[in-house]
C-alpha cells in the first residue's frame, strides 16, 4: 500500500541541530499507535518536536490529514499553536499555578472557546479520564499516575487530530507503571487520530504500539509490527532490547559465515549474501563436554566471562566464536559448576536460528527530494508498507 497523504500523519523530512541530523520518513494512519523506540539521543524527541511545530524541519515536509504543516522547500510553516496536535510531555509540564480543571480547560480557552464552554469541555474530559474528584487540586498535589492522566486529558481537551506522547510512563515508579500503562492503552484505543509514542522501554512499545519504528543516531534502522521487530531485530541495539543474540554474516545456502567468527548451519532457504541470524539465549545449550554434533546442530567451544542472575534464570556471558548470551537455570550453574573462566561447549539447533536479510526490516530509503514515487501524488512521499 502506498500512503496517500490525505489520511493521518506523513513525515518525510530532515531536522538539523548543530552536528546532529535526524532523517525520517514515516506515516501514521488514523487510529494507529506508532511507537518510536531508540536509545537516548537517537532523535525521538526531536521528531516529536518537529511534528508539534516546536522545531522547524530543515528540509522535506510534514503533512497531517493532507494539510501541509511544515514544508522547508515551499517555506510553509504552521505555528505550533495552530496545529491540531495534542502533546503529552515527558514530565507532563502541567501549569503548577492552575488547578487540574484549569489546566484541562487551557486548550479550549486558548483555542477561542468561552470561559463557560471551556469549563464544560474540561469537565467532560475529567469525567472521561476519571479525574472529576481532582478538579480543584493543584498539580503539586497529584500522584504520578494522576498527573499523567491530567496531562492526557489536557492534551485531548484541545480535540487534536494527532496525539504525541513523549515517554508518558517514564516519570512513574515501577509499582504504578503497569496500571497506568493498561489505562493508557484503553484511552489510546479511544483516540481516533494517529498517535506517535516515544519510549525507550521495549515492553511499553510492545504493549502500546501497533507499529514500531526504531531510531538510532537520527535514522530509522528498523520498522515493522512489534512481533516482527521482536523476532527479527535489525541492529545490536534492538537485539539487546528484545533479548536476542544477533549475528551478522554471509549466507551460502545452508551455511552462514559469521563476521564475529565461526559459522552456523542453518535451514537452507536459498539465502545468499549478507544476512542476520538471531537466536534466543534460552535456545542455546551449555555442556561441559563436547556434545554429539548432528548435521542440524551447531556446536562450538566458549569461555564463561560473566554470570548475572535474572529472576529465575542465570544469564551467561560467553566468549567464543561467536560470542553469545545464554540463559540457564541456577541448578544448571551448580551442576556444571560454572564460574567466570569455565570452558564449556555451546550447541544450538539449526531450526532455532532465525535467518533473514536486513533489507526486509527496513523500507527502501525515501529521498526527501520530491522524486515521484508510487502513485506520484504530490503530497505523497510514497511510503511503502
Amino acid at each position: 500500500m502506498t500512503g496517500t497523504g490525505s489520511d493521518g500523519l506523513v513525515v518525510d523530512a530532515e531536522v538539523r541541530r548543530g552536528e546532529f541530523t535526524l532523517t525520517v520518513a514515516l506515516a501514521a494512519r488514523s487510529g494507529q499507535v506508532v511507537g518510536l523506540l531508540g536509545p537516548n539521543g537517537a532523535g525521538k524527541s526531536t521528531l516529536l518536536s518537529a511534528v508539534a511545530g516546536l522545531t522547524p524541519v530543515s528540509s522535506g515536509r510534514i503533512t497531517l490529514e493532507g494539510e501541509v504543516m511544515d514544508d522547508a522547500d515551499a517555506g510553509t510553516f504552521v505555528e505550533a499553536s495552530e496545529r491540531p496536535v495534542g502533546f503529552v510531555f515527558q514530565n507532563y509540564r502541567l501549569f503548577p499555578y492552575l488547578t487540574v480543571a484549569e489546566n484541562v480547560a487551557f486548550s479550549p480557552r486558548a483555542r477561542g472557546m468561552g470561559k463557560r464552554a471551556a469549563r464544560a469541555a474540561a469537565g467532560y474530559w475529567l469525567d472521561r479520564l476519571g479525574l472529576a474528584g481532582l478538579a480543584d487540586r493543584k498539580p503539586g498535589q497529584l500522584s504520578g499516575g494522576q498527573a499523567q492522566r491530567v496531562a492526557l486529558a489536557r492534551a485531548l481537551a484541545g480535540q487534536p487530530a494527532l496525539l504525541l506522547l513523549d515517554e508518558p510512563l517514564s516519570a512513574l515508579d515501577a509499582g504504578t507503571r503497569l496500571d497506568v500503562q493498561a489505562e493508557l492503552k484503553r484511552h489510546l484505543a479511544d483516540f481516533t487520530g494517529p498517535c506517535l509514542l516515544v519510549t525507550h522501554d521495549p515492553l511499553e512499545a510492545l504493549v502500546l504500539a501497533d507499529q514500531l519504528i526504531v531510531l538510532e543516531s537520527g535514522r530509522i534502522v528498523q520498522e515493522g509490527s512489534p512481533a516482527q521487530v521482536a523476532r527479527q531485530p535489525a541492529t545490536d541495539y534492538v537485539a539487546k532490547l528484545v533479548g536476542l543474540n544477533l549475528y551478522y554474516g554471509q549466507a551460502d545456502g545452508s551455511r552462514v559465515t559469521l563476521t564475529a567468527g565461526g559459522s552456523f548451519v542453518v535451514p537452507d532457504q536459498g539465502q545468499h549474501g549478507e544476512v542476520l541470524a538471531a537466536v534466543r539465549p534460552s535456545a542455546i545449550v551449555v555442556s561441559t563436554r563436547r556434545p554429539d554434533s548432528g548435521s542440524a546442530r551447531n556446536t562450538w567451544p566458549a569461555k564463561v566471562t560473566g554470570l548475572t542472575l535474572l529472576s529465575d534464570r542465570v544469564r551467561l556471558d560467553l566468549d567464543g566464536q561467536p560470542p553469545a548470551l545464554v540463559d540457564v537455570t541456577p541448578a544448571a550453574v551448580a551442576e556444571l559448576s560454572l564460574s567466570p573462566g569455565s570452558q564449556v561447549w555451546l550447541s544450538v539447533k539449526a531450526t532455532e536460528l532465525e535467518v533473514y536479510t536486513r533489507g526486509a526490516q527496513l523500507h527502501q530509503p525515501i529521498i526527501t527530494s520530491p522524486a515521484p514515487a508510487g502513485d506520484g501524488e504530490p503530497g505523497s512521499p510514497g511510503v511503502q508498507r
Binding site: 508539534a52 511545530g53 516546536l54 505555528e79 505550533a80 499553536s81 495552530e82 496545529r83 496536535v85 495534542g86 502533546f87 510531555f89 514530565n91 509540564r93 501549569f95 503548577p96 499555578y97 492552575l98 487551557f106 486548550s107 486558548a110 483555542r111 493543584k138 503539586g140 489536557r154 492534551a155 484541545g158
Partner: protein, 274 residues
C-alpha cells in the same frame, strides 16, 4: 592519623530542627562572625540612634510644624505611580532586552541632571513639549514621578529579567502545543510563572522610589505639596528643626517596614509556586 574535633553537643531540640531542615550543620563559620557583626552594627546603629533621639514626648508637636502629611502623601502616591509605570513599561522591556540598567549604577543626582537636560523647557525633548503642548515638566509632581521611575525601574527590570531567564521554557512550549498564541502564552503562562519575582521586584522598586532624593530634588525641586517628597522634607527639617526631621524619618521608616512586612508572606518567600 586524621585529627578530629571532639563530638559536638546536639540537644534534642537542635536535632529536631536539623532533621526538619535536612543536611549537615549550617551554622555560620566562626571566622565570618566578626565581619558579619560589624555589618549588622553598621546597619542597625543609625536606626537605633534615630529611635533613641526621637522626641517621643512631643511627637505631635514636632510633626505639626512641618508639612509632614503633605510630604508623606506626595511621597506615597508618586512612589506608587512610578512603580505602576515601571510595571507597565519595565516588564515588557525586561522581556524584550536585558539591558538599560545604567541608572542602577548612575548617581541619582546625575540622573536628575540628565532628566533636566532632556525635559527642561530648553531641553532636548522638553523644548518641543513646551512649544507644541505648553507642557512644562520640571518642578511638578510629574517630574517627581519621572525622577523616581528613572532611578527605581532598573530594580524591577533586573529582578524580572532574572526570573524570565531562569523560567522553564517547557511550560511555554506546552502552552503553544495547547493552542496558545504568543501573547496568550505571555499572559497566561510566563507572567504567572514569574509572579513571585514580579511582586518582589515591584516592592523593591516602590521602596527605592519612596526613598528617592537626589534625582528628585535636582529635576523636580522641593515645592511643599508639589514636589517636596518625604526624603526632601526630612532633609530640610534637619536644617531648621532636627526633632521634626527625626519624627519624619520615623514615619518614613514605619511606612517602609509596614509595606515590607505586609508583602513578605505574599511575595518574598522563596519565590516558589505551589
Amino acid at each position: 592519623m586524621v585529627t578530629r574535633s571532639a563530638p559536638s553537643r546536639l540537644t534534642a531540640q537542635k536535632r529536631a530542627r536539623r532533621a526538619a531542615r535536612g543536611g549537615a550543620s549550617r551554622s555560620v563559620p566562626a571566622p565570618l562572625l566578626a565581619p558579619a557583626l560589624i555589618a549588622v552594627a553598621f546597619l542597625l546603629l543609625p536606626l537605633a540612634g534615630l529611635l533613641i533621639r526621637a522626641p517621643w514626648g512631643h511627637m505631635a508637636a514636632a510633626l505639626s510644624g512641618t508639612d509632614a502629611t503633605q510630604a508623606l502623601t506626595l511621597s506615597l502616591w508618586t512612589a506608587s505611580v512610578s512603580t505602576g509605570v515601571s510595571l507597565v513599561i519595565g516588564v515588557p522591556l525586561a522581556w524584550v532586552l536585558a539591558l538599560v540598567t545604567l541608572p542602577l549604577v548612575l548617581p541619582p543626582v546625575v540622573g536628575g541632571v540628565a532628566l533636566l537636560l532632556a525635559f527642561s523647557r530648553v531641553g532636548l525633548v522638553g523644548r518641543y513639549l513646551d512649544y507644541w503642548f505648553g507642557l512644562t515638566i520640571p518642578f511638578t509632581p510629574l517630574a517627581v514621578i519621572m525622577a523616581e521611575t528613572f532611578v527605581a525601574m532598573p530594580f524591577l527590570i533586573i529582578t524580572v529579567e532574572g526570573a524570565l531567564r531562569s523560567a522553564d521554557q517547557g511550560y511555554e512550549e506546552a502552552a503553544a502545543t495547547l493552542g496558545a498564541k504568543r501573547m496568550t502564552v505571555f499572559r497566561r503562562v510566563t507572567v504567572p510563572l514569574i509572579a513571585p519575582s514580579l511582586g518582589a521586584g515591584a516592592v523593591l522598586c516602590w521602596a527605592r522610589a519612596l526613598g528617592e532624593f537626589g534625582a528628585t530634588i535636582t529635576f523636580a525641586g522641593s515645592f511643599p505639596g508639589q514636589t517636596e517628597t518625604m526624603p526632601i522634607a526630612v532633609y530640610y527639617a534637619l536644617e531648621t528643626d532636627p526633632n521634626a526631621a527625626i519624627a519624619l524619618s520615623l514615619v518614613l521608616l514605619l511606612v517602609s517596614v509596614l509595606v515590607l512586612v505586609s508583602l513578605r508572606d505574599h511575595w518574598l518567600r522563596g519565590g516558589s509556586v505551589s
